[in-house]
């Protein structure tokens, strides 16, 4: 089954351990990872995306798509506000994300942040990934041992959602393990 997942951890280093574990599961043939990225919510509520240091273009795309994905994982209400909330999302090492969606309504921004908080709390980090898995237990078991909480939605569910379809995020998730130098394992 082809799914999008978010695995939430209490800190960034645990999230990178989770990312590494995800790619190890891929290497063992237990799952197939098509792409993954790590995001953080700081103590003020802003979400940041770890990207390659010199990759602001990717950071912008990632901001919009990850906002949409987080909203979708938060639940049906979150899907509608996830992309709008992307304005508050920055690339941690790539600079501030450009405002590529309509952010004129302040209440929408606050609502988006509020909705995605159901998935990612203040100070938490998450691995988001596009994966194929025949069973959910390999990811659930491994991430559980690392202290991660797994959220999962079928890719087909999101693709059937006409609203979300504009923000299918596969194109910006790293299709290989990328760990910034700030997070040595």
């Amino acid at each position: 089954m082809h799914n999008y997942i978010a695995v939430v951890f209490d800190d960034a280093h645990k999230a990178y351990e989770g990312l590494h574990a995800l790619w190890l599961l891929d290497g063992a043939g237990e799952i197939t990872v098509h792409g993954a990225a790590v995001i953080h919510r700081d103590s003020l509520g802003a979400i940041q995306v770890d990207t390659k240091e010199t990759h602001p273009v990717l950071g912008t795309a990632a901001g919009v798509g990850i906002g949409a994905l987080l909203g979708a994982l938060a639940g049906p209400a979150g899907a509608a506000v996830g992309a709008a909330g992307a304005a508050a999302i920055g690339a941690a090492t790539g600079g501030v994300v450009g405002a590529t969606v309509d952010l004129s309504r302040e209440d929408t921004r606050y609502q988006a942040l509020d909705e995605s908080r159901f998935v990612l709390g203040l100070g938490q980090s998450a691995v988001i990934a596009d994966v194929s898995e025949d069973w959910t237990s390999p990811i659930d078991t491994r991430m559980g041992k690392l202290g991660g909480v797994v959220y999962r939605r079928a890719k087909s569910d999101l693709e059937d959602d006409a609203w979300f379809n504009d923000y299918i995020p596969s194109s910006y998730l790293y299709p290989y393990e990328y760990i910034p130098s700030a997070y040595p394992l």
């Binding site: 197939t32 390659k52 010199t54 990759h55 990717l58 194929s132 025949d134 194109s171 290989y176 990328y178």
Partner: protein, 154 residues
């Protein structure tokens, strides 16, 4: 961790011979086919990583970068075609799509070599998008191959 594999079909063949089957339940032929696809995936990942780094670097990619990417895209496409034998229909479809995208990558490389300035950087972004799409399809092919192998052993 960045991928460090060269997209060379001959290298792929040598690697396949050097890696014995991980499971006794799989035939040697099946394993070689799956390993070949795995190596194609690694090569495509490396190509995408190199292109994204070149696009992002200060001053952008150079024409010398672009020439190298064109050669690598061609090598990965050849390896992908060679890995198709013995795969499931689902995996074959993804590999074919990946080959089409790698050919588009080569075409955008050729276009980029004829341009300069903003048009050149636009071509580079198209090359990056094509390469990302090809990695996605090869990865989907790997998933399809794993699912097929898994259902055989049940």
């Amino acid at each position: 961790m960045e991928c460090g594999y060269e997209a060379n079909p001959i290298h792929v063949e040598k690697e396949i011979m050097a890696n014995p089957a991980p499971s006794a339940a799989r035939t040697a032929a099946e394993t070689n086919v799956k390993d070949a696809l795995g190596h194609v995936r690694t090569a495509a990942q490396e190509l995408h990583s190199a292109i994204s780094d070149a696009v992002a670097k200060r001053g952008g990619a150079t024409k010398a970068d672009l020439e190298v990417f064109g050669q690598k895209a061609k090598a990965v496409a050849e390896s992908a075609k060679n890995s198709m034998g013995g795969q499931s229909d689902a995996a074959k479809k993804h590999i074919k799509d990946a080959v089409t995208q790698l050919e588009a990558t080569q075409q955008h490389v050729a276009d980029g070599l004829k341009t300069s300035g903003q048009a050149f950087q636009t071509s580079m972004r198209q090359v990056l998008a094509d390469a990302r799409a090809s990695v996605q399809n090869i990865s989907e092919a790997v998933a399809a191959a794993r699912t097929a192998a898994s259902s055989k052993t049940k």
